[in-house]
Amino acid sequence: MKMRYKVYFVLLAIIWILAFFICLKVGAIEMSWKEFSKALIKGSDEEIVNTIIFNLRLPRLLLAALTGVALSISGLLFQALLKNPLAEPYILGISGGAGAGMMLAFATGISPILFGFSTLPLYSFLGALITIIFVYSFAGGHKNELHVNTLLLVGIALQAILSAFILFIQNILEPIDMARAFAIIMGRIPSLEWAQLSFVFFVTFLGIIPIIPLGRSLNALSLGDENALSVGISVEGMKRLIFLIASLLTGSFVAFTGIIGFVGIIVPHIARLIFGADHRRLIPVSIIGGSLFLMVSDTLARTIFSPTELPVGVLTAIIGGPFFLFLLARDGKKR
């Protein structure tokens, strides 16, 4: 790695650590730095402060970080596979597919609790996987004639259809209480129980570990399938792996947080601006940058209108939507 990138990387890590503690400290219940550090080191004398930090803010912050990792890595993988910096789980309709899968499981009551864990993530994972295969085939990918613009249009159309579907099902189930459907469509980060959070950690590692050695393969793939084949990358294997892992990451997180859009565009794009196009750098940078981005976004979402909270999905859409349009306009001019 070049010296310059090492410096940026260290800076990013330092910002991450600072952001982590600031995000943990701020909130509706104010506390001084002294009080905060005491609570962290040996526990506060006031039980309520301990509860707020360790049972409310910390699990929420960690879930936000992991969600940021999952969404950024999914975006990065799709962008390399589809040669399009605008590809991302939300834009491709995959988050919608995950939400719809979960809603169907709700409606039909086929999601039992196994060993104390909800099986909903399984259904949102399947929803995501089916959607990505559908979108890819619809745009001609299975015939090696992928139309990248069609792909985005199909994804955006699907996202609209699936959101409507989620609201429709909810309307049939409980027309008075639409809150659950809205929580799926505009995602928010909950404070999970530690047992559930450890499951989320496990899924994240399961998805990230196989990606770590693939930097070079993703580089070659992002220049086109033929290009990747001709330098010795097995493209079919990569495709299957990316579909599976991106569905796993996106899908299982939607079950906990609902749909949070645009993270997978914003983070890899900024990462490329600073660290270049080499995925050996982009993978670790997206992991750290993605978690940083969603930690900060979620903290803003819960504090700007304090004591009321904004769903973080609203915030990422307000930032990410215009960002998407900006990239679209810029790339459109180049073509």
């Binding site: 050695p213 070079r216 001709s230 330098v231 270049g276």
Partner: protein
């Protein structure tokens, strides 16, 4: 030897099929010529293992291509498309470095011999000054040189080019073919080039395959290109040839 044995292939749409028989040898420049849409590029992609034939066998140095892994193929054969675009901000050097991937385990860093191979390749195609430039901002000729450097860095015995000179002016076309010819002989490489620059092919080719309507209709030495009747049938244009220093050169009659 690179051998296509009774190959047939059909695209999904079913509108176009290819049947091919082709032999290319090391230290030779084999040229595939034919009009637009004749199936030249398809045949080249079949030879490179980028497309899978529906029947027939391809042998790369006596080994069946279909049983080789992508890595094994890439260490023996490099493919250079007619045009490469990137949507991401790779540098010229990062693209050339991809030529070394097939020789590396996932975490194995690029060592000194890799760096040397990359630098030699860049120098050979006169592209050293492009190594830190954004690949997206290069001209198509410069991008083509980077892709050629990548193929050289791959250190494969076989190099397959699809329309490599489309974006080059006549001087650079000639220089490019001279470079290929020298490369084939001095490095003992087998080169296959798809082109419709039939005049240039008639100067440089060691071996020629003429493709029309998805079939290899004639193959052999450069001499077969001097069959005026055949050329008219295929291209619909009358060709003449002239003698320059004892070498026959083809040129088309414009018919004005």
């Amino acid at each position: 030897m690179l051998e296509l044995n009774n190959i047939s292939f059909q695209y999904y749409t079913g509108s176009f099929s290819v049947e091919a028989e082709l032999v290319a040898r090391k230290s030779e420049l084999t040229v595939i010529v034919g009009p637009n849409g004749a199936g030249k590029s398809t045949i080249l992609k079949l030879a490179a293992g980028l497309l899978k034939p529906s029947a027939g066998k391809i042998f790369l140095e006596a080994k069946k291509l279909s049983v080789m892994s992508r890595k094994e193929i890439a260490s023996k054969l490099a493919y250079i498309p007619s045009e490469t675009n990137s949507v991401f901000e790779f540098t010229g050097r990062e693209i050339v470095e991809m030529g070394r991937y097939a020789r590396k385990a996932p975490f194995e860093p690029m060592n000194e011999s890799d760096q040397r191979a990359i630098e030699n390749a860049l120098a050979m195609v006169d592209a050293s000054e492009l190594e830190n430039r954004d690949f997206r901002n290069l001209s198509s000729g410069e991008r083509q040189r980077i892709m050629l450097a990548r193929a050289i860095a791959q250190e494969a015995n076989w190099l397959l080019f699809d329309e490599p000179t489309v974006h080059l002016d006549i001087k650079h076309q000639i220089e490019f073919f001279k470079l290929l010819k020298k490369f084939a002989v001095s490095e003992n490489k087998g080169l296959i080039v798809v082109t419709h620059e039939i005049s240039i092919a008639s100067i440089f080719a060691d071996s020629v395959a003429v493709v029309s309507n998805g079939r290899v209709i004639r193959s052999g030495s450069r001499e077969i290109l001097f069959d005026k009747k055949l050329l008219f049938e295929i291209f619909g244009v009358n060709f003449e040839f002239i003698n320059i220093h004892g070498n026959k050169v083809l040129f088309p009659q414009a018919g004005i």
